[in-house]
Symmetry: D2
Subunit: 337 residues, 4 copies
């Protein structure tokens, strides 16, 4: 019997991407689409690319209604709104993958400093499981609530965690220079994402202020065993999807390119979705997949680590399905091939 | 002495493009930038690409104030708003190039049917000069008010007018299949022009309902000497700028590709900005220029005429500068090389 | 047990797309990748996006070797080369989906006129089955050799065949104005497809000379019951994938937009991959799917029919998988969700 | 009287861009176009975008022939080929702006290590003037031969030179993470620049091996007064033109964002083409101009400096025209507005 799943906040890009993946999933059935709007449009009006493939309306559904129709909920609401909904969903016995930022940071003070809101459900932060299966597979299997990672942090943590853990690089002065396609900015039209403004252009944004910075810090600190503070610079690239992160770190001990690659290969040996490659990654090679390509080089005594993911899949909806698979005992790669 | 020019409605793409061209113009000086907003931002805040090049603020200026600062006004306001402003500008003795649609159609009933507004200045319609120098150069030289052509009509009329005039094609059943870059949609963010929606996509829009259809009709009717009604289909192309129109018409008499090209070459022999070419046009070859590339083929007994322009230059601001040059006795190509 | 499939000519874009679809197919297994080159690179060197997903080398394989490893062959060789290989494959008892143009045209003289080569296997032309399941599903089920349709013809035939068949439009003077993304041009670098040449540009090409013109003629002639000759104009659009065709035809009798849509809806009522929609199609809504979106309008007494497909999927590899499913008795939509 | 100029190696993108700028130049006249090929195509065949604007053929011209027709030569040949030509041109009394890499590095050993060729004219290296007017304006005015800077070095040196010179940042561990549009790769079709390969993709390349690394080193070393070795990582971005460099450096003393900006503003106070801005640069804001936008931030105790240029203009042909203006006593901004 298929697991019945609902998508809350189904009108955005991560909601659409989840629908696409789950329609293809042999052990999941989409049974409800939630929205915070009062209208109830058919999904094909909201997402014309789902025409003929999913016959549901987006509806303003209560936790109780969701519990009647589904076993699992993918929550794609904005931060704060998400945590407000999650408590109710868990109380109804639903398992939840939360794609917002609400349960990623363990320290409520850090959350409130960076997100500028009072956390609606602070009690659950310390125990929330971070949905990066490459780090926390066993905990995810046991979890009722999984905090799906941010897109940039996924690319940075997968690149740097193993090297820090193995002591191959130092946690001091790490720089993560990331580049993302525009879908990462969401579906709401804004001047910066108006086609003639960002097409054929390239810019840095949020220098020193992006909310994914403390999320990266938190997990690299865990890997290093002492406080890591990265300098994280995101850039907007004129393409739909894809993140490439180029990370720079001091070598902790005399190692070479081969040594870095060996650490990465060892760490990801059994991972279904991370490929340590010899060539330099391109986002196109992972676009529309749940995969991460990563490589490393030593240049003038520093480690340069380059990683690529599809921000909407491995950086959001694909990771969410991977987490869902682990939580419900499905094949980890189901729906993700 | 330089001609002092003002740009009304300077915050959009045609305003920006006018500023770029006029900054390079040896006989013009930008002396005022008008806006309908109450704020008065510096032009470099509105158009960062003009940083260091133009030290003016956008201001809400009256006709009187404009007349004190300028000799000519380029009016880039939306339709209806433009006609409301123009009467006042002319009354102050200013010469005006109007980039809106307000003075292009000669019949007020047609205007009001297609634009769904009451025309604010209907008395001036019959006498307004249509700013296509290839057709109306002499009238433009004498005019105080020039109606700058629409972008799609420019591409279609330059392609078909000479052939109709010469009797090489029939006015019956003409089809104009046009494709435009996204800047033609203006600078206001809307879902359809949100980068991830229109990037990597291609669509038809306004099939049978686009307002440029009666504008094309009007001038092809003039060329043919009897009523022409075209079927005009615009398409949105994922690129910044450029229009390519592929037009289809019945041959009025037995002519071949060479014959069509000869008619076009003869008509445009002395034109500084129209190139009749043997190869097939590409918008990139006219991008950032005031030129039109046009060619023709006979295929299975029909004429296929392909024309390319930059929608923001030959289709808007470049044509406006060309008209300005004619109105003020400057070299016709000044600022347009 | 899974059907074992081989891809011949696996280094191009249709080969890559086939591999992606077949990896996801529950009843197919890729067992061989053929190439005409002497080298035998691993597929992940040729297609880095398949890294970690398919552990095969591209090899120069004989028909006999292919027959040992596979039950079905997808042949992605260039025209003429393909027909040379097909006879051998069929002789070995393999079933073949041929993605080249070699078996699409029924008249060898037409083939040789347009393709400028002697057909290597003319005897099979008259009996070959054209792999458009919407027209020839029953024949495809029985076929050992299916000629997979061209990308442009798929978009044009799906738009016009039902309307001609129903007598809603006339076969006289049909115009098909098509626009395609650049992947349709294949994987070999050429000046016209060098990124800075075709990015941010839009052009017509092959006006009156494109090889897909007689292919469209052939099937529209069948629908109309008398000779149809279309005027077909392809255009190159700066995007990866997608075809939008805007077709124009005279109305055969007084019908309106609703009438045209009704004919299309009736014809495609049970089709799994064709959606007759009320809104205007956009290629993005069918990108990465095997679907076709189509709509129609009456404009000034003419039919305007707009259809959109993904040129690499419904226009090539997806259609090939759909044909494969029919030939082998698999669920028609397997691997195509 | 106008200065007569020739462009050698006129068939590439820098040649085209030079022609565009010089056609607009009030004091220059293009009198010859050189090519190494034996054919002599009309420039409009090679560059359709110059149709109707320049009536010259590309010809295989000797130094002597060039000296008869021109006063100045812009040399756009590949490295090594350029130096082979330059000696002859200078011997004929021509002034030369060399857009190749041949005279940028002062140490022939460094040149030969990175460019893997024997330098054809090593004697001129030590005395060659590097054509970055912001650093060497006075020397350029006196020079007969100017080595036009590389595109990446221009963006990096303009960002970092003033800060190093002022002692605001340390030369230790500088990282330059640069991103460039595809035109930087030149006009020769190659798989990596085939539209469907690089469109919608983003990749790093030449990590630790790019030839612009020692060029950046050389001038930052000069600024710092001691050996600087940067880690330089270029990335390929799916757009035509533009370079954005994000550079990271340790602060040499306790300074803040305001302090960094002040150093930059002071250094560029009188520069016509460098804008120190408060907001973050976007390449679109400098596209098709000779300008550089630059800003700086202190993030977690490090300097992050972001600079943007048009790689074909300020990074190549525009800088070349600026140098030409200085060498011939023309207004420095002539042709560059």
């Amino acid at each position: 019997m298929k697991t019945r799943v609902a998508i809350l906040g189904a009108s955005g890009y991560t909601g659409l991407e989840l629908a696409r993946l789950l329609l293809r999933h042999p052990a999941a059935e989409i049974t409800a689409l939630g929205t915070r709007s009062e209208e109830s449009p058919h999904v094909s009006e909201v997402h014309p690319s789902l025409t003929g493939q999913l016959d549901l309306r987006l509806e303003p559904l209560s936790a109780k209604q969701l519990a009647e129709r589904a076993d699992a909920v993918f929550c794609c609401l904005p931060h704060a709104a998400s945590a407000e909904a999650v408590a109710g969903l868990l109380a109804e016995g639903l398992k939840v993958v939360d794609l917002s930022a609400d349960y990623r940071l363990r320290d409520v003070a850090v959350y409130e400093e960076w997100y500028k809101v009072t956390h609606p459900d602070p009690g659950r932060l310390a125990s929330a499981v971070y949905g990066l299966p490459e780090l926390y597979r066993d905990q995810i299997k046991q979890a009722d609530l999984v905090a799906n990672p941010g897109c940039y942090p996924t690319s940075a943590i997968l690149a740097l965690y193993p090297l820090l853990k193995a002591g191959a690089i130092s946690g001091e002065g790490i720089i993560v220079d990331s580049k993302s396609g525009v879908s990462g900015a969401g579906r709401t039209p804004k001047p910066a994402f108006h086609y003639p403004e960002c097409n054929e252009s390239l810019s840095a944004y949020g220098v020193g202020t992006h909310r994914h910075m403390p999320e990266i810090d938190q997990f690299l600190t865990e890997a290093a065993g002492n406080a890591v503070e990265v300098i994280f610079t995101p850039h907007l690239i004129p393409m739909d999807r894809g993140i490439l992160s180029t990370s720079y770190a001091s070598l902790a001990k005399g190692t070479d390119t081969g040594g870095l690659l060996e650490v990465l290969r060892e760490f990801y040996r059994d991972e279904p979705f991370v490929d340590v490659i010899d060539t330099l990654p391109a986002t196109k090679h992972v676009a529309f997949t749940n995969r991460c390509h990563v490589t490393a080089r030593v240049v003038r005594g520093r480690a340069v680590v380059v990683s690529a993911i599809d921000n909407l899949i491995k950086g959001a909806s694909g990771a969410a399905v991977q987490n869902f698979n682990l939580m419900f005992g499905h094949d980890e790669i189901a729906g993700l091939i």
